[in-house]
Amino acid sequence: MSDLVPAASLIPAGAPFPKAAKVALGMPQLRRNLAHATGTIRAKRAKVAGELDDWEALRDTAAAVKANVQRRLPELAVRFEENATAAGAVVHWARDAAEANRIAARLVREAGAEEVVKVKSMATQEIELNEHFEAEGLRAFETDLAELIVQLAEDKPSHILVPAIHYNRTEIRDIFSQRMGDAPAGLTDDPAALAEAARLHLRRRFLSSTVAVSGANFAVAETGSLVVVESEGNGRMCLTMPETLISIVGIEKLLPDFADLEVFMQLLPRSSTGERMNPYTSVWTGVQDGDGPQHVHIILLDNGRTGVLADEVGRQALSCIRCSACLNVCPVYERTGGHAYGHVYPGPIGAILAPQLEPGRHDDLPYASSLCGACYEVCPVKINIPEVLVHLRQQGPHGAGERAAMGAAEAVMARPRLWRTALRLARLGSMPWRRKGFVRRMPWPASRWTASRDLPVPPKESFRDWWKEREK
């Protein structure tokens, strides 16, 4: 059995994407695991999305509904609050992560608890709720299988849907055997056996916990309802069994009407796990007498979202329903995994969301893309990710060297005669580095290209010369 080294710990903290990616590219097992997992899910998604002859119409509706939500956010948030409150929930508002964590910790204490069970939630990861709880002497137990794996491995999630996507079954078996106190002896790496071990490990905790923390996939303004979409039943356990339920919900999760679920609940499961419908969806509205938690709290979270809202092009990132389809098709994500992005939201959505949620901190991420557009093609809410990437590049800072090079190129290209002269010089300039009709090795910065690729030699006769000749 191998020693457990959390994958995230190998990536230097705060490293810019190209550096972090280089480290990840040097981990062959990680790359094999990612290629296998993303390949599997890509095929499944394509199959079930292809089953619906109105897939594109659904995407158009979803994109427009979300665009409306953004424009009507103040009105819908207040409406949600009114309806949830009328149904017996207590609604709190949090300007940032610290405030949300403070409120959540206070609620846990008021419920007389020191431990909570958690349903997988990106919002709670974003605000680092577990770490905050720990600092306050509280403990949060992740119950989603992949989150459990990551928590036991003391690692970080590397994918928004399958946080342990970077581990294969054998590695997961090792993590369970070494870190899960009650793991059965002789545990095999059969996925069914691993799931069974997790079931036994968590069952007592589910049946005895008094407080749960969740996020929500959707918050319906019309009814004040929250919706959680899941597979394993750990969500149902957390949402049903405890006395107190605290749900932390980003303000962008709002939907105007209950009937909008007919759109989003077709798109989300097919886009995320590649199923026609996920095994379990829970919908609850405030407190229900004699059924489920009798103390229901909802924390509406801003944490940078209103900043994103202000950007006419960038705000479409708030339409994201966290399906992770864009990660699964992204050729960059497939090769680097999630940790290289240095943010809880990795992949294409992370590359446009992280720099907007935390301005000035992730300016390298909009460049972590070849702009191939595979993400836009699959996004169920039609976020034009390449468009936002280019937009953010145009807003962000540029190094002096690059500024000079781009400026010089533009100056030449804006003057056709200079351009033609430059083309002639290029042929002469490449002389010293030519090998067999190719340019093989060039000094920095061109070496960034020639380190792995040859460059063709500029031609003897240009198109322009040829054209002039035949015009005579």
Partner: protein, 231 residues
């Protein structure tokens, strides 16, 4: 005779004269009168996608000045056509992009031909470039044109829809990831045992060809050169 303007693109201007020559031959064979406005340089894509909006805007304006008088502008580059169509409206408010056609679009949609009378007795595999396929929506137009070529033996490229890793300055800024993507593309290309790897963009072909020249595999060729061939 209908007059069309040829936008050869800066990459072809600098490195690949055979591609625009091929476009001229195809269009003239089909009876078009081809014009080459000599003041053309670059569509501004590199600047726009690298975040240099001002520079890109100036180049976009120049493009309008040079090509504004033409009803149809043909270019052998999916990504330059996509640049004009998707980004010019935001940069300059110009809708000239509607008149810019990637070669296969022009042939299939405007000229209404699939068989351009070409002959190319070789095995060829085709890589659908990302901007051509996704941003421009070329679909299988280049392939339809290639299928009609006499003597050609087209073989499927495994994982064809995967990006080759070029992405403009991405290839420099994230050279390691770009190279990892390139390695897979080269391996897939080599696995076909084809003689040629065709695509609709010489920038991607420069990248793929630059890799293949080290690892071995099919020779990169712009599909326009295949369509121009009558040998």
């Amino acid at each position: 005779m209908t007059r069309v303007a040829l936008f050869i693109t800066c990459v072809n201007d600098a490195l690949f004269p055979e591609t625009p020559k091929a476009v001229v031959r195809i269009l003239e064979r089909l009876g078009y009168d081809v014009d080459f406005p000599a003041a053309q340089t670059c569509c501004g894509q590199m600047h726009a996608n690298s975040g240099f909006k001002k520079d890109a805007t100036r180049l976009a304006r120049d493009f309008d000045d040079v090509f504004g008088g033409y009803d149809a502008i043909v270019t052998p580059s999916g990504s330059c056509a996509a640049m004009a169509r998707d980004q010019y409206p935001h940069l300059t408010g110009s809708d000239i992009g509607k008149r810019v056609h990637e070669l296969s679009e022009f042939l299939v949609d405007v000229a209404g031909v699939e068989d351009v009378g070409a002959h190319f007795p070789h095995t060829v595999t085709y890589h659908p470039t990302c901007h051509g396929t996704r941003a421009l929506g070329l679909g299988d137009k280049p392939l339809r044109l290639l299928r009609a070529v006499g003597g050609i033996d087209l073989v499927d490229l495994p994982a064809a829809d995967q990006c080759c890793g070029f992405g403009g300055t991405f290839a420099l800024k994230n050279a390691e990831v770009s190279t990892a993507m390139l390695a897979d593309k080269c391996a897939n290309a080599a696995a076909t045992s084809a003689e040629y790897l065709a695509a609709a963009d010489n920038s991607c072909l420069t990248h793929i060809g630059g890799g293949i020249s080290r690892t071995g595999g099919p020779r990169p060729i712009h599909y326009a050169e295949i369509l121009a061939s009558t040998a």
